[in-house]
Symmetry: C2
Subunit: 309 residues, 2 copies
Amino acid sequence: MMTSPSNGPGASADFDLTHYLAAKREVVNQTLEVMLGAPSAEDKLACAMKYSIMAGGKRLRPVLCLAAAETVGGNPYDALPTACALEMIHTYSLIHDDLPAMDDDQLRRGRPTCHVAFDEATAILAGDALLTLAFEQLAANANRRHVSAPKRLDIIRIVAAAAGCRGMIEGQMQDMTSEGGRLPMASLEKMHLLKTGALIRAAVKCGAILGNGSQTQIDRLDRYARSIGLAFQVTDDILNVEGDPALMGKAVGTDQHRSKTTYPALLGMAESKGLAQKLVSRALQALDIFDNRSEPLRAIAAYVVERKR
Amino acid sequence: MMTSPSNGPGASADFDLTHYLAAKREVVNQTLEVMLGAPSAEDKLACAMKYSIMAGGKRLRPVLCLAAAETVGGNPYDALPTACALEMIHTYSLIHDDLPAMDDDQLRRGRPTCHVAFDEATAILAGDALLTLAFEQLAANANRRHVSAPKRLDIIRIVAAAAGCRGMIEGQMQDMTSEGGRLPMASLEKMHLLKTGALIRAAVKCGAILGNGSQTQIDRLDRYARSIGLAFQVTDDILNVEGDPALMGKAVGTDQHRSKTTYPALLGMAESKGLAQKLVSRALQALDIFDNRSEPLRAIAAYVVERKR
């Protein structure tokens, strides 16, 4: 299922984001297939891992990682294993967040969640195993000729810090403990900067580093990533109110049902959409030092708020 | 609470294992304290992580890692961060194994399990965060002057492979799916070689590598680790029948209650104890190329089957 995003205000008219996303997703999916292997039907753990990761996600984090490497003039193939490891970490976080003790979601990417399709114990272990496999792949030697060992350790540190107890997991913790209460704007933003923002920033940063970007380039791309991470979350909140569940592959209206603080609840719908646009503008500004190799990132910034799923 | 293990058949009479274990545990605990920090009471995630990891475990994996480095003539301090990372991974696995959807255990190391002391969502996230922190520490720069970057990547690969879907997690999966049915001996051994054996072997192997051991030394230590890993599990099964819950800090009789296949159930109690002794002998044999710097490992082999908890 392919959406047809516009090219965004900062991208040239002849850049085809739909084609770009499809091509990048294809190479990410093929690499993930190789990394996950072809499990036999009796290998329930491997089947659950593969079921969740090959469920047709947007692959936003890996695409951002590859596009960031290209933006600084690097070879995206040097960033490919890291891009795939980031998708494993994202998928593990979804599997665990969907568990009955957490968000208790039944539907994800248009299919039953992992613990519904398999069982709760298998879902916990499949998440654990995807997280572990991500680090195994980050440390693996295959196709890493052009990346020095110290740089690979840097990447592992950045990814682990973004995914851990001062990053994504802390964000999920804040999300869990804030349910039912009304968060002030600053706390809502802080929570999202951790829960979704940290891994999105890590994806862009790792891409920039693996593409051999300068410190100035890395800093600019980090500003970009911070803005689109928030824009992504504001849009998620909007889609949870206005989205089409058939397109999104998951239920809508769940935030209100759980009394979650959201941008539309705090700001109203019109102002939330304005905020998303403002964040996209800020992201595009951060890219103004780059040449036309930043077109994919420009188009993705617009896509993040225009997407229907 | 300190047991008083004998020095074992292969160790000299004046080697004091009790003192050795206490000293190594002390340095491991101090390092873990630094790695985990001092969370404020409101930081529930960090409190749960610290609650579980500072609950007074035996620290078998870190001690084995440090002792292996010493056995090959290395500096155990070079192995200390890895030793602590292995304990984080062990602790995360206990937190997740204790969850209601898995073994549903209420007591661990003499205290309420993490999901009982906190809640299920917090326990899932605390486990995830300890696993992630382990890899962050393995990639961290602090106190790693003497270990090259390629070697540190080797260590991350070994640890991730041992902990992942072809190691510890697959062992737990096999343990879950075999409950209620009677496993043949070969399947029971295979399950334990994965569930507890893989991480114990990784601990010894990493210690040997970080201590700059030769390939022959590493191979011998791997044979040692394979045998004591199994001996440890046979003893666990024996203690689950005969152990004192007050000393062990957890319930006994749980294997029978869950219709788990155990060594005593398959072989009887006397033959199980014989097997444990045979495995210890095999472990000691593997050490016969080493000088007296292997005394700690010799004494630990005996301790593994003589321990009361």
